[in-house]
């Protein structure tokens, strides 16, 4: 079938262009300026697919975002599901298919670029129709910073779909004049193809700009395809227009049945006639204009059915003059046709002489719903206007006002006046003096002659084929079933029937459904609450929301100053928060297990080093610093002497361990404390919170210096030799430089602070230097250690070494329910201090229970079996039927080079009393026999600490 429904003249399309596209496998042609929908209609294609539940043929019904039917899947240039044909701008080579409610996501990554941008303004105007343009112009002339967003490809709004004149000239001229002035006024940002989809508190509005979709295959790859605008406006003018709503009747869903206003838009904007022979069905004056204008364009419009008994005299006369028979008090009672409408059954409202009109198109208008979505999202209350059957904005909000048909005003001049008023009010509220009043152009539009009637549906037909929500395939019968089941709230009916839950969010069905429910319940709509409008106003691709936060920018990757060295050495990394930490350094042919055993051996037998720069570091200065530390840590810190270091445990107010680390005393009133990698920010916040809220009298300042330092533990019996080689002026002997003391010295020519701290039980020096010099230090250590076989080791080896010594890791061996006593660290809980954070909780009965879970060691009976971390500990030598009493679980589990066997740490009920007991740990579907031991499994005497 080749049908040309493009009119010989008119429309805003480029008639010199020729775009080829494919729809449902058919090759078709369109013009630049077309939407996919207008191009399909120009080719006589109404049906786009079939409905989701009943498989009924469905076609284009609207001309904008309110479209409930024409869902399409774009296949080329890149797969994108669930777009409406009415909002897809046509481009050469477009390949699309109609959808039956479901789309298909692309299997491959989206190659397009997406981004976001912030914008700030005094006045944001949403909608570049007559009201929005007037508001923006008024605001711009007043010197305000203005952002004007509009979802269409060109400004003009409703004017694009009419042939109204302003000041005796095409409305184009007025629009062009306004735009020219806006575009040459400094401080005005105008965004087309941009949908404001969410309005939030404090003037925050999100908008989606479709920047290159219309370019199709020619879209430049370096330009973001979509952009999320994050707009912060002092004042917002909502001029979003209105959506036409249908009237529901039996078989109201056939291809060829459109909204009347949409037919006008297709005529005036795209030069397309939506059919050969049209019937019109309305309950208000606006559809008369569609009938008249289409007839003027030479299209056969035999009948106009007006549900009202009293019809507009002037418009009726104009219809008569064009051969359109106006039937007052008449309605559509049913339709015929399959892939396309063929006949319309008509009759008097309430029954009587029926008739059938042969036609391929039926235009319907049940009235207009103001697009109050953004206003409602902002918390604005809606009022039911019985005269138009629509929800309209209630009282203005302090920072948002509504103008034009979004406010329920449908007369063109009034819309412009409202826009000017809203613009003046907005700039005044934003602190500007409004410029002289803009002139309101003189419009030639016909005024409303006869008040609209509110008609939700034509009763008496086949209700199970009278569709309310076409996308969800919900009929009047189903609404009746909902109210029959006792549902009264519109929110409940919505969820019961799914009306309004599809891609279109009920733009054509919501108000009708509300009306039907009220009708069935015998309720007054004015006394009922409408459903709440929530963002987004229209669908927003996840890719756009994700923006540039993908690939390497998905989440910040934090690296240390030594990162490149680790990479060059082939290190495997693990994520610790946002940090990348070297986990192990596999050599050729090594797996992690082998590499870790080798690294452990080097640390225990020779010398090894690691990058511990990620440890949190906090500088504390002030006369009361020691007093603060006594409160923060469970143990006594104030007695620490200058030059010395102490390990400390921090608890929350519930007495549970939240962090641990070391405190070094630099001076009487100056300390440096370390935190675990993952808790650095938390601990600083914790300190600040206590200082600012509870102890403002303490004279202490805390400053994060985590990244100022590179920290390198040099570990192993040979570490002293390596350090001695690089720090010839430092006496590295145990007598001169004892355990848990620190000294400043020059290492490899670099000023360094060296701490005798060991997290492995071996002789160790933790060397700290300014991060700029970190790599130089590291490379010097590697070189100086070469004769001793110095070995870099990663976090996995660190874990094994510390576990062999029974040192817990906060967050791995603890989980927020573990006290220092549970960890066997009563020695680190001061008995002398009068108070510290967590102290009070230690005397709670729950904290004193003997059957608390306590940290213990586990040795599998089979020394080659590695227990699973998280494995449950039970008393049974087999897996019994549930319930099974869980005694605890494995928290850390490793193979140990030093022990020549596997071992684990675990938290176990009454653990310390069970040392020596034989228990079982679940592993897959079996149990593994284990012996409970002390936590310290290596060098119990601590003989290795001092080398």
């Amino acid at each position: 079938m080749t049908a040309d429904f493009r009119l010989p003249a008119g429309g805003r399309i480029d008639r010199d262009s020729a775009l080829r596209f494919s729809f449902n496998g058919r090759s078709l042609a369109g013009r630049t300026g077309d939407t996919l929908a207008s191009a399909l209609l120009a080719n006589g294609v109404h049906q786009t697919g079939t409905s989701i539940k009943y498989g009924r043929p469905r076609g284009i019904m609207a001309a904008g975002v309110e479209e409930p039917n024409a869902l399409v899947q774009i296949a080329e240039p890149f797969t994108e599901p669930m777009l409406t044909a009415t909002t897809v701008e046509l481009y050469d080579g477009l390949v699309a298919d109609g959808l039956s409610g479901y789309g298909v996501l692309a299997a491959e990554p989206d190659p397009s670029r997406y981004d976001a941008k912030h914008a700030h303004c005094d006045v944001l105007v949403v909608g570049a129709g007559p009201a929005g343009l007037a508001a923006a112009l008024t605001a711009a002339r007043s010197g305000a910073r203005v952002v004007l967003v509009d979802d269409q490809s060109e400004p003009g709004g409703s004017l694009l779909g009419t042939d109204d004149n302003l000041d005796g000239r095409s409305s184009d001229v007025w629009v062009r004049d306004v735009i020219t002035e806006l575009d040459t006024t400094p401080g005005v940002l105008r965004l087309d193809r941009t949908t404001a989809f969410g309005a939030y508190q404090d003037g925050f509005v999100l908008a989606l700009q479709r920047r290159t979709d219309h370019l199709g295959f020619d879209a430049p790859s370096h330009v973001s395809r979509h952009r999320i605008w994050r707009i912060r406006a002092k004042q917002t003018v909502i001029a979003t227009g209105a959506h036409e709503r249908p009237i529901v009747f039996a078989d109201n869903d056939r291809p060829g049945i459109l909204l009347a206003g949409a037919a006008r838009t297709y005529l005036h904007r795209y030069g397309v006639q939506v059919g050969r022979r049209l019937a019109v069905f309305t309950a208000n004056d606006s559809a008369y204009l569609a009938a008249i204008e289409l007839a003027e364009a030479g299209i056969d419009v035999p009948v106009l059915l007006d549900a009202r008994q009293e019809v507009p005299p002037g418009l009726s006369a104009e219809c008569a003059a064009r051969g359109i028979e106006v039937h007052p008090g008449h309605v559509v009672t049913g339709t015929e046709g399959h892939d396309r409408l063929t006949d319309v059954h008509i009759g008097p409202f309430g029954g009587g002489q029926a008739d059938t009109v042969g036609c391929d198109t039926l235009l319907v208008s049940g009235g207009w719903n103001p697009a109050v979505h953004l206003f409602s999202q902002l918390g604005g209350t809606l009022r039911y206007a019985p005269e138009t059957g629509a929800y309209v904005p209630g009282e203005s909000l302090a920072s948002a006002r509504v103008a034009g048909s979004a406010a329920g005003t449908f007369e063109l001049t009034t819309c412009v006046e409202q826009g000017i008023d809203a613009g003046r009010a907005a700039v005044t509220a934003a602190g500007f003096t409004p410029a002289a009043e803009a002139r309101v152009p003189v419009a030639d539009v016909r005024a409303e002659e006869t008040a609209a009637a509110v008609l939700w549906r034509v009763p008496g037909g086949a209700d199970d084929r009278a569709f309310v929500d076409l996308q969800r395939d919900v009929t009047v019968s189903e609404v009746e079933r909902a109210t029959g089941a006792g549902l009264e709230s519109l929110e409940h009916v919505k969820r019961y029937t799914t009306i309004g839950t599809a891609h279109d969010q009920g733009k054509t069905s919501g108000t009708v459904a509300a009306g039907l429910v009220a009708e069935q319940l015998g309720a007054n709509l004015a006394e009922r609450r409408p459903t709440t409008f929530r963002p987004p106003y229209t669908s927003v691709p996840f890719a756009a929301l994700g923006g540039r936060d993908r690939g390497e920018l998905y989440d910040p990757i934090r690296v240390t100053a030594l990162h490149d060295w680790h990479v060059a050495q082939g290190a495997e990394f693990e994520d610790v928060g946002q940090w990348k930490r070297a986990r192990h350094y596999p050599r050729q042919g090594e797996d992690m297990h082998t590499a870790v055993l080798r690294e452990c051996r080097a640390a225990r037998e020779g010398v090894a080093l690691m990058d511990a720069s990620t440890l949190g570091k906090i500088d504390l200065q002030g006369p009361d610093a020691a007093e603060l530390l006594d409160m923060l840590y469970t143990n006594m810190m104030s007695t620490l002497k200058v030059g010395r270091i102490r390990y400390g445990v921090m608890c929350g107010i519930d007495g549970m361990v939240i962090d641990d680390g070391t405190v070094i005393r630099l001076a009487d009133d100056h300390f440096l404390l370390t935190t675990t990698t993952g808790n650095a920010a938390m601990v600083l916040d914790w300190i600040e919170e206590w200082l600012q809220t509870e102890w403002p009298h303490l004279r202490v300042f805390a400053t994060s210096v985590t990244e100022h330092w590179v920290t390198v533990p040099l570990v192993g019996p040979k570490s002293r030799d390596v350090l001695a080689a690089l720090a010839p002026e430092l006496d590295v002997s145990n007598d001169a430089f004892g355990f848990m003391t620190w000294q400043d010295a020059t290492v490899a020519g670099i000023p360094a602070r060296i701490c005798r701290i060991s997290f492995s039980g071996e002789l160790a020096y933790e060397i700290n230097v300014n991060a700029w010099c970190g790599l130089a230090l590291w490379e010097a250590l590697i070189e100086a250690g070469e004769p001793y076989g110095i070995t870099p080791y990663g976090t996995e080896t660190m874990h094994v070494l510390r576990a062999e010594k029974g040192y817990p890791i906060v967050g791995q061996d603890t989980d927020g329910t573990v006290t220092p006593q549970d960890l066997g660290m009563s020695w680190a809980v001061s008995k002398k201090k009068t108070d510290f954070i967590g102290k009070r909780s230690f005397s709670r009965a729950e904290n004193l229970r003997p059957d608390r879970k306590q940290l213990v060691g586990l040795l599998p009976a089979d020394p080659s079996v590695l227990l699973p971390e998280g494995g449950q500990i039970i008393e049974h030598d087999h897996l019994p039927e549930p319930p099974v009493r869980m005694l605890g679980h494995v928290t850390s589990s490793y193979d140990s080079a030093a022990l020549g066997r596997t071992f684990a740490l675990a938290v176990l009920r009454s653990g310390r009393d069970r040392i020596g007991e034989k228990l079982y740990v679940t592993k897959d579907d079996e149990v593994v026999a284990v012996t409970v031991t002390d936590t310290v499994l290596y060098d119990k005497e601590g003989a290795r600490r001092d080398g």
């Binding site: 985590t706 990244e707 010099c773 070189e783």
Partner: protein
């Protein structure tokens, strides 16, 4: 075996050529090794002494910074909180300034001075599209009428915290201070943000 000054590495070592890709729309350079000190002032009476050391008054207005020159050359002093300042100076002065400032505030009785020179690195950002580039990830309104020369804010740029100084509102010139571990993320983000502006004529 000693490491001399040339072996120091800044967090964005090696990024110069990637930054150059942004020109001419945006000029982005790292200002390495600058002296940076956190100053906490408990005793406001010491502000004058601090000013004498720096040659610049401490900023009194929140979210601003003062710049000038004194005995230690050009400095910038940023207001970060009611008693918190960040002193920025030429490379190599951190130790001198640390002791001079500590003396000026009367030791820890009067406040705190911490050398944080390597904690953050400094990026200088200018050019006709510099403000646009920042607008892709910074929620602060950097319009000259709202953020004039001398503005200093602590905020997020993309997903990392920054300290942003408006050295000049028109033509736009910004300093961004970013934690060393986040510097590469931010650098990658900035270079990527410039993708669109790279190919457009200025």
């Amino acid at each position: 075996m000693t490491a001399d000054i040339t072996t120091r590495r800044t967090p964005l070592d090696g990024w110069t050529s990637r930054f150059a890709e942004l020109a001419p729309a945006v000029r982005l350079t790292e200002r390495p090794f600058r002296s940076q000190l956190t100053l906490r002032l408990r005793d406001a009476g010491r502000a004058a002494a601090v000013s004498r050391v720096l040659g610049v008054d401490l900023p009194e207005t929140p979210c601003t910074f003062n710049r000038g020159a004194g005995p230690h050359g050009p400095v910038e002093v940023a207001w970060l909180g009611p008693d918190e300042y960040l002193v920025l100076a030429q490379p190599g002065l951190q130790r001198t300034l640390e002791s001079a400032l500590r003396e000026a505030i009367g030791g820890t009785q009067g406040g705190a001075v911490v050398d944080v020179s390597a904690q953050r690195t400094t990026l200088a950002l200018s050019g006709p599209r510099a403000r646009d580039l920042l607008a892709h990830g910074c929620a602060i309104d950097l319009h000259p009428s709202v953020s004039p020369t001398g503005t200093c804010v602590q905020t997020l740029l993309a997903q990392t915290g920054i300290i942003l100084l408006v050295r000049d509102a028109d033509p736009a010139e910004f300093l961004l201070l970013v934690r060393a571990s986040f510097a590469r993320y931010l650098a990658a983000w900035l270079v990527d943000a410039g993708a669109e502006y790279r190919e457009e004529p200025v």
